[in-house]
Symmetry: D3
């Protein structure tokens, strides 16, 4: 069930059966020569949608622009300041809690979001902890590629050059979701360099075409389908366990 | 061209031909017994996508949760505090301006957003005005139903009971976009009451099923298609004019 | 009754008879060659004062500096950032609500304030809507020139060249309030250009002497008196209706 | 010269002769049984106006609501949160600096504002100090009753019962400014108690009618005139010295 | 008792005997040619520690970086923006109040902190005053050199050249606390100039080596011991009185 | 070299030889029945001090209160809201960068801080990335127990019951630093339970005496000395490498 296409009476009925919701959370940022700017939003969105349809849980709107300041050296990348993102995530949480949701599961598509999501959760809990009342809800974040079993699938499909940004896996997932967006681009070098970064200028200097450690030219819609299938199952189980916790 | 499915080199190439981008901006909130919670995000999103494809301009991510505090009495509705939304819109603007975008057009789907978007624009301009430098970019917001000619189409299709919230027109647009989400719900009363509101409790008291002045049971995908067709053309022209201004 | 010159026991007594208060809200900004920087604060202040004396309602302090970033290209103009204004208006509201005021009516003198006042109201209501409690108070804003009947008076007095900034009407009102401040300045061109603007540099480029569409050299204290008389009556009725709503 | 009644060309001309401006800053809060809620705004406003007319300097709008949380136990009192006031003062400063003002003198009417004004100044300077650039302007705050010689006049007029809140002196100044607002109220006890306070509940418990240490029934318009005369001269000299510093 | 070296059961036991805690609050900023950057944190920390051990009260962590924007022209100086400091102090207060502390005594080592601490207190009280509930706790700040009798000791030890920044007294206290950090530096001029300042550039221009009015080459650990002895006793008595208030 | 006991000329001289500084960052929070509330501040502080003395780098003040909302169910625990901590860390960074520091190394003592420190770094970089300028400095955080080789030492000393909060290792480090604070408390159960937590109420319910998975009664000053020796060397090397990066 998608919140987007549900009516409020349908949501009200859902809340009588479950207090859980899944929120895809991503980023709009460069993903190398053949990757989509929306990759990190698309991946958790498609996985959550399929998992929600399979398992019957509610999927909320995609929090689509995250913390991606280090990608701003590449056209089209967007970012929130972390302090803005903390405020926005808390408004989302407060809205959902208002209706009776008690388990809010953020399925994340972007490594750069992890710390700020965790800080946003601590900001949310802190209001209760400082007041002395018990917080009535639980928050969870999970990166889709860290769902049980998913990385194994990715590594078996892309034993070489999956990488850590603009990965073959995530590009494959987006090609599965948007097959007309497949881009045929030669990679040079074949596998991008590894390394670390600070701000956008540093990132672009270290990773001239945006990729880190990957050869995403290996990505195909079919490979993406296999990854989504694994992630969908894993998310369904993990969300169910969280909703019952 | 959709930013979501573009690569950064494609965006870089686009920027050599145009400095303009269109951002759909909406809300996740109740839309009555048969309307979708995502209505106000879906409408500008589908109109912008079709207009962008027709006219060749870039469409960015949908700013999908807006200021809808008055709808929180109905399950599934979400809101940002206006101060959060001002900060978030400014982060989006600053990100886009960083890449060279100089005309940012927010196509809006929710009346409750209008004031906060305008305030966010003033916050953005104020930084330049207070420093004394000339702002290099222009911002524009437009409600999709106020695009030239659109309201005439809506009124011709729904001469009675289009209303002002959960309108027959907007529900029709979402049914066009998501035909599987069409909901067959009888309306009681046939046409919802008119009136004003303050907070969520006041809204729910005045408008028990969420609608204001509308009979959205008239909505069909076909009627939505006609509205989108009109809005798509109007947006293409209006955005083009803005980009050249 | 003016809050400024009332004692707290007088306010306490007033609250036993009415829960309503009127707050003039304006701006300090350029108003063309012969207009006063304080125009947008003076107009609602004088209208509210006279209406309050006639109708017996309480008038609070004037919120005198608003959102006028676009006027900063002209000496003496001042602005708040919209986010600051939202915070300040909310502190004013919270203070008044603390004492039992339940209807707070902002009579506004500046178009640039409208969006931010509306956003501030949504910020105030949102605290209640997100908590799930019913908000015990109502907020209203009204531009003095949009009070019933006022624009008709203005148009009958200034059939040509009333304009939309530094209007003949508002300058006349200030001349009525401060007759010693009447300035005899020739306008060139007689009637200022029309148009739109973004930031301060853009505004100054488009409107070199600050006026938009107006010939305020027509303003006199007598004409201002007629406008104030109409606005005073209209405000008294509108506030009374709001206080009873 | 009053900014309120000046035109922008007049301000522009003024800036060629002086870079200084005086801003009255006060509070709207209870001032005991016979004192005006607007006392702390009125006093610096009237003193600044008369000094500005005598000495030819520019007087800006009155920052009329300050930090008065401790007075909220009495009807009509209003407050800003200190963090809001810091933001608002900085917006005022930034606006004035934009036009070339280089000496901004806040003449203060409320003890509860002092710390927050000082913090606001530090916030303003900090932006320059942290960037490493020299700040081009200077800020000053002065309580009107601490202007050279003023306290001597007050003590000679009210040798007993001037007090420290709702003082005979400040009430006298407001009676001079608004003679029709003189209130004839018997004080009980004749002289109010002394003491300290924390929040509004604590204040009201300690000072049941709002006064601290004062017998403001001694106030008359004539006594206020004498105080204003002294303060006007002192402010003219002090502001002139500051503008030249 | 030091919170730093206490266990939570020890704190819980303490709270059964006292609701009071002392928080040293200082600054990291230049203190002239022979003074320590940590002077303003060290002084209240050592005085509070000795007083706490003597009198049995609890001493919390040192709030070690304060508002010192004016010292940023000298290497090693650090500052918070006042608005940041207000937020941080309020988080500290809220945490302590959560556990049942009802008297929080900030012993301050830095003149530049005074206003912001006072503003932070008003921010804390304002939350209660605006809600209408009585605040259950009291806050106090005291500069260590203004504790009863301390200045007399300082003046008797340093009759000439104690000064107002990088004072002989405070440097002596730090030398007592950190005898290995004594620095033998000749002062030129012997006694530093007096004066005022605004931002960091202005400060450095007026006070080239950082001192104001002082000759801190007179400082010795022994002299510092005498000052600490006086301050320790005075703080013990003052805190005890506050805890009982 | 400790910033606390350095003079500004000494810092200025240091900056000619190195652009690096180490900031201990911790927390004040319960550490079980025999652990110190200051544990997480003390550990990085003592390790950084010894490393700085050995390797000659500068150590700044300890950021001593962090994000510990989940510990507020135990007396004496303190927390910052994450958004406050982000602001404060950025003020610290901006201050240090102002003086020419270009490598700022936060040696962290508290798991609950990690996400917020990372978010604070992203906030700092984002200012540069969004402006389009290259950030001139680098930021690093490292948990002391994750320094190369340290965990091996801890595990060899405490093969059983080191745990994950109120660990035997961290308690031992504090006992080494404050041998008079050693507390002899029997643990029941011997080894605390494992698990996860959300807010303070949830934490206290799951971990009744505050420990997670540990038996800190094994801690002794001698064992702490061994851990500090290992951590000191590792930090010296890691900081040196970072300063040269
Ligand atoms: Ni990605
Ligand atoms: Ni809608
Ligand atoms: Ni106007
Ligand atoms: Ni007063
Ligand atoms: Ni000092
Ligand atoms: Ni720890």
């Amino acid at each position: 069930m998608q919140l987007q296409t549900a009516s409020w009476p349908e949501v009200e009925a859902y809340l009588k059966t479950s207090k859980g919701i899944v929120i895809p959370i991503g980023s709009f940022e460069q993903h190398g020569p053949n990757g989509l700017v929306g990759t990190d939003a698309i991946c958790p969105e498609v996985i959550a949608r399929e998992a929600g349809e399979a398992a019957g849980f509610l999927v909320g709107p995609t929090f689509n622009v995250g913390v991606a300041q280090h990608h701003l050296g590449f056209a089209g990348s967007m970012t929130l300041r972390p302090s803005t993102m903390i405020a926005a995530i808390n408004d989302w949480i407060d809205s959902l809690v208002r209706h009776g949701f008690r388990r809010i599961y953020f399925i994340n598509g972007h490594g750069g979001n992890i710390a700020t999501i965790a800080a946003a959760f601590a900001e949310s809990y802190a209001a209760w902890s400082m007041d002395g009342d018990a917080c009535p809800y639980k928050l969870r974040q999970m990166n889709w590629w860290e769902l049980p079993g998913v990385m194994d699938v990715c590594k078996s499909i892309f034993p070489v050059g999956d990488g850590s940004h603009a990965t073959a896996s995530e590009v494959a997932v987006t090609y599965y979701a948007y097959p007309h967006a497949v881009k045929d681009v030669a990679m040079s070098p074949k596998i991008a360099p590894q390394g670390s970064f600070t701000d956008a200028a540093d990132y672009r200097r270290n990773f001239p075409d945006g990729r880190i450690g990957s050869d995403p030219s290996q990505a195909t819609p079919e490979k993406g389908a296999a990854i989504v299938a694994a992630a969908r199952e894993a998310l369904a189980r993990d969300a169910e366990a969280f909703f019952k916790s």
